[in-house]
């Protein structure tokens, strides 16, 4: 990577902001990992490959909902973006099959706290 300058900084930012696709985020800070997020992340990667799903699976930090770890946030075009909590292997597979595959939300594991947290964004 070449070093960024005043001019190339904005260009670089515009390039990466343009790419938006379906993704799954797994909370992988100390709290998430302690609750078993590594395993969930691994199974998501494996199953997505097996099922040939085009979805990006990313690691991210802690959302703060430690009581519901491991947390998995899913963004699929045409389905509301939701956070699943207390996810284990089986639920992870269900999320891929139902939420990503058939675009239906999975019962009993959604922690719908989006409305309790106002984000500071433009």
């Amino acid at each position: 990577m070449t070093k960024l300058t005043k001019a190339s900084f904005d260009q670089h930012k515009a390039e990466i902001q343009a790419t938006s696709k379906n993704w799954i985020k797994v909370g992988m800070s100390t709290c998430g990992i302690a609750a078993g997020a590594e395993e969930v992340y691994k199974i998501l990667l494996e199953e997505a490959k097996k099922k040939n799903l085009s979805i990006e699976i990313k690691k991210c930090g802690c959302l703060g909902m430690c009581y519901a770890e491991p947390l998995v946030e899913v963004h699929v075009e045409g389905v509301p973006q939701v956070i699943y909590g207390k996810v284990n292997k089986d639920i992870a597979i269900k999320i891929l099959e139902k939420h990503v595959g058939t675009k239906m939300l999975v019962n009993d594991y959604i922690f719908d706290l989006a409305l309790t947290m106002k984000e500071v964004r433009k």
Binding site: F9, I16, G61, L105, V106, L115, K118, V120
Partner: protein, 580 residues
């Protein structure tokens, strides 16, 4: 009709969860109206409201209904889902109690991906500052924001920066204090792990404002993942030219290194922290001179907490005035709390300054874990105090917490119920400070030890009425004469529990009783013969021979032999053993 989604959750407290029953009811109704294919009903685990009966949320319109009765389900379907009409009598306002400034990226971006941070407006504030701001302008912006140090003391950040800026020196330093050590607090770890670049960016803006070219991260070695992520973030920033010489092609150059703390609590104190970075033994120094004038290797040094630095990029990007709109008169912005204890939703929360404790416990924390009532809330860790339930409606900010005899501290918030003994809590925190005292000054080293001895006497049933007065005297000496914050504040948990829970101390001293059942030596175990099923489980589990008897005649507990270990109480399946 567009495809709709109905989320539902029974949020009643103290009653059986009827989410599943309502789920089938709604499914049946939808089938009756031939809507089963265009509406998906989803049971959720948490809908963001508590104690509001059945809550429904209809997407994509984001209509929220609370206290929905069975009879309301039909109108919800015919009027709202089919007719797009909102039923005002059921509608709830969004429960927007949290505001995420510090945690804006935590859980949103991949902390190990540089581009993720850039896409989330990362380093935009740095670019704005180093390409167009004078040093004074940065400090003016901070002054307008009213940001105060989030490490605990609440000193205005702009003043610290301004002192260091005004000193003429060959070299200046900026240090990030990531030596988070309060029991129960972990917000700094979470920010370092979840959004390391924002802390680096905040540090660089600070460095630009004061004229520093070298920064240090002081992070405790017990946070290996935080250290690893900060290391990666620093390497990426160097790679992209955001650290090093002539950043973004400007005159500004800045280097960062990491120093690991070995886990001494006192090293969170700024002069001890600096000694530790210099490779010396981590003990505090008398102040003044303050580090902003004379710090690392005798040079002006600004020390900021992780959370403080994470606020900086947003302030510079959106303006100090914008930041200053949130919060109370003297405490601006938001504060991250680590909400723990006997609470349903334990975790990290970020609320505007001035939010009431009640809102935090019941509307964000989801209420108490058990049916037992709330007794008190502890804030500020070992330097803080307890706030009894009478003050639940008090707003949380620096001044108000101090007025109540506690402090903001780094942001631990522990909720306690009737099962917690406040004398025992005071003992726990004081013991922590006694163990962590560096021993350099006598008031802290000797005062803490003596006070702990008195507290132990009280919890062992050997306390006398004069002990409380003695503890108050020692506390005063420690507050006045200790060298650093550790000793000056170590007595706070004791003082605040004496202030609000004097009756509990009296019970321990005069009646030799601990109502909460925490102080082991004040407990008396007895077998209640009416409830005893003579199973003999207590006999086999008592290793001290205090329980005698047989399956025919029943069992008796000899209190003279009993060591009060509590084993019999735990194993009895019939609750036939009483304690207290």
């Amino acid at each position: 009709m567009d495809k709709k989604i109905v989320l539902l959750k029974d949020t009643s407290i103290g009653a059986a969860d009827k989410t599943k029953e309502y789920y089938s009811l709604i499914l049946n109704l939808l089938r009756d109206h031939n809507l089963q294919d265009s509406v998906q009903v989803v049971r959720v685990a948490d809908i963001g409201f508590y104690d509001q009966g059945l809550v429904l949320k209809i997407l994509p319109e984001q209509v929220i209904y609370g206290r929905v009765q069975e009879s309301d389900l039909l109108p919800v379907i015919t009027e709202t889902i089919q007719g797009n009409k909102i039923l005002d009598r059921l509608a709830l306002k969004p429960n927007e109690k949290q505001l995420r400034i510090v945690l804006r990226n935590c859980g949103q971006i991949d902390p190990e991906n540089f581009d993720d941070y850039i896409a989330a407006d990362g380093y935009a504030a740095l670019k704005k500052v180093i390409t167009g701001y004078k040093q004074e302008q940065v400090i003016e912006e901070l002054k307008a924001s009213g940001l105060r140090g989030r490490g605990g003391a609440g000193y205005p950040t702009w003043m610290k920066w301004n002192f260091a800026r005004q000193v003429k020196a060959e070299q200046k330093y900026i240090v990030c204090n990531g030596d988070e050590g309060d029991p129960g607090a972990y917000m700094d770890r979470s920010v370092l792990e979840g959004d390391p670049h924002s802390v680096i960016e905040g540090m660089m803006i600070g460095a630009y404002a004061i004229g520093a070219s070298q920064g240090y991260f002081y992070i405790r070695a017990e946070y290996p993942l935080a250290v690893e992520r900060i290391q990666k973030a620093i390497a990426q920033a160097y790679e992209y030219g955001l650290l090093g010489k002539n950043i973004l092609g400007t005159e500004f150059s800045f280097d960062v290194e990491i120093r690991l703390g070995a886990g001494a609590f006192v090293c969170g104190e700024e002069t001890a922290l600096l000694a530790s970075i210099e490779g010396k033994r981590g003990t505090p120094q008398p102040r003044p001179p303050y580090p902003s004038i004379k710090g690392l290797w005798g040079m002006p040094t600004v020390i900021n907490n992780v959370e403080t630095l994470a606020n900086i990029p947003v302030i510079l990007l959106k303006g100090g005035a914008w930041f200053g709109k949130t919060g109370t008169e003297k405490s601006k912005g938001t504060k991250v709390f680590a909400l723990t204890g006997k609470i349903k939703n334990s975790g990290l929360i970020e609320v505007p300054m001035g939010t009431s404790i009640r809102d935090i416990v019941y509307n964000i924390g989801g209420g108490m874990l058990s049916a037992k009532g709330i007794k008190a809330v502890q804030t500020g860790g070992p330097s803080g105090g307890v706030i009894p339930k009478e003050f639940l409606d008090e707003p949380v900010d620096y001044e108000n917490l101090q007025k109540l005899g506690s402090i903001m501290g780094s942001g631990g918030m522990i909720v306690m119920d009737e099962d917690d003994c406040l004398v025992d809590i005071a003992k726990f925190y004081l013991k922590f400070c006694v163990e962590e005292s560096c021993g350099k000054c006598a008031p802290c080293r000797i005062g803490g030890y003596q006070m702990l001895g008195l507290l132990e006497n009280i919890t062992n049933g050997k306390g006398t009425n004069s002990d409380v007065a003695k503890m108050k005297r020692i506390a005063q000496a420690m507050q006045k004469a200790s060298l650093c914050g550790l000793g000056q504040t170590a007595a706070n948990p004791v003082l605040s529990t004496i202030k609000y829970f004097a009756a509990e101390y009296k019970e321990h001293i005069e009646d030799k009783k601990c109502i909460a059942g925490k102080c082991r030596y004040l407990l008396n175990y007895k077998i209640i013969s009416d409830k005893c099923k003579k199973c003999g489980l207590c006999l086999t589990n008592c290793v001290f021979g205090a329980i005698t008897g047989n399956r025919e005649q029943g069992y008796v507990l000899d209190s003279a032999k009993c060591t009060k270990c509590g084993r019999c109480y735990e194993v009895c399946k019939f609750k036939a053993i009483s304690k207290g």
